[in-house]
Subunit: 268 residues, 2 copies
């Protein structure tokens, strides 16, 4: 018997969410995927809640029209600022990255203190702090606005990036949060800095990738086990700026060749 | 006799163009200004020509509807990728920043070699190289994508920024363009790095600010002299993302308090 493969829509402001798609394809290979990158309007991280919600809802609705049966909001900023608004606007189930990321961090922390790094928008919303607080864990949030451009410059293992990481993080791990034992990567670009951040934060600190946690959560939600041979997920890509730019930038994040990108115009 | 003050519309993807507005207010105080920052859709520097042209035209048309009699495209990327398209879409006169910047660089160069730093989009278009070539000057263009986020982080005089500037520029000034004697600031954010860049590039290199050159050009075009007492220009600001964010970020670029920001929604 061949069961129908569920179709999961994955949405991000750009190519960063491909780190979440990569995890989903690994952990939920039984599904097919539609990925939407709002590249004409990125980044979301520095914009207001109203603007982010408006953009995110139009993108999410487009994925539903294209046949998505479940939606993953792979963008931390969109999850932080607009998850409720997106969920209200959709008829399909919606999963953000913050709840799974926070749950995973709480499970791995013994000290009850964790540090969250994210965009300005995500930090200002305190979405992680609130989610972790409900799990009895204290969080220190730190906006790291230079990490996204540094990753996009390709400087994922560069001395300048390491210096910037020390400037952002040393004070925190030497201060009130010296006993913090988890660092949450609260932005889809940050998994590409995992190796570098491992050198920057103290050894006892676990690095928690929200994208990874979300994929695991999705597998449970769909009641799927990742064992067995399910063939390769079928993936279609949609981008609001040029297809070629999406393909070129995206392959670093997805870790594989990207084909079949379709340009979408969401503005009239 | 009190002559009617001309109304000049100034348009940029965000707050960077306020460096051009500042120069215009200094050099053309006889005019009143309307400034439009497309903050909901910024940045333009990394986006495709089609997307940039679409955004720029809608913003320019909005300024014309608001009463602008002349338009300054203060954004280098929009000038590079879409000046012709914007000019065709408008009935008022349109001035970009590249032609004045290139003319100024050519006038100040004795060696006939200059270096242009700008966004990826501006560099890939070779708009500066072409404009300088027509004036008999050879140009080496260098995209510096980290400069905008470093300026926005407030690190305009920071060791990290200086290191990044050396990484971007040292090879050029030690190579084929060792005799270059002008550095063109081909992005509206870069004037805030002038002091730092002065330390990074060789002493004999003149730093040419396209915004400054454009303001001078505008004064000539309007047949105005800056001497005399003209009162203060009246300025209205329009932004597509939050008014508060525009005000906060913009004051650093304009060098004065910003009031009267109006939110504009260009998308339906």
């Amino acid at each position: 018997m061949t069961a129908k493969r569920p179709v999961v829509g994955v949405f991000d402001s750009g190519v960063g969410g491909l780190t979440a798609l990569r995890e989903l394809m690994l952990q939920v290979p039984q599904a097919d995927y539609l990925y939407f990158g709002d590249t004409a309007r990125l980044p979301y991280g520095s914009k207001s809640a109203e603007t982010v919600a408006k953009y995110a809802i139009s993108a999410a609705q487009y994925l539903e029209q294209q046949g998505a049966e479940h939606l993953v909001v792979a963008c931390n900023t969109a999850t932080a600022l607009a998850l409720d608004a997106i969920t209200r606007a959709m008829t399909i189930s919606v999963l953000g990255v913050i709840e799974p990321g926070a749950a995973n961090a709480a499970a791995s922390s013994k000290s009850g203190k964790v540090v969250v790094i994210a965009t300005e928008g995500t930090c200002n919303s305190h979405a992680y702090k609130n989610a972790l607080g409900q799990l009895g864990v204290a969080a220190q949030e730190k906006a790291c606005p230079l990490f996204v451009p540094l990753v996009e410059e390709g400087w994922t293992d560069h001395p300048v990036t390491e210096q910037v990481a020390h400037l952002y993080l040393d004070d925190i791990f030497n201060g009130d949060f010296a006993s913090a034992d988890a660092l949450v990567l609260g932005c889809t670009h940050y998994p590409l800095l995992k190796t570098l951040l491992r050198r920057v934060v103290p050894e006892h600190v676990a690095i928690v990738d929200s994208a990874e946690a979300t994929a695991r959560y999705m597998a449970e939600k769909l009641g799927l086990k990742s064992a067995g041979n399910f063939g390769h997920p079928n993936v279609k890509f949609f981008a609001t700026d040029s297809e070629e730019k999406f393909r070129k930038a995206g392959e670093k994040f997805l870790g594989r060749i990207i084909e079949d990108v379709r340009h979408v115009n969401l503005e009239t």
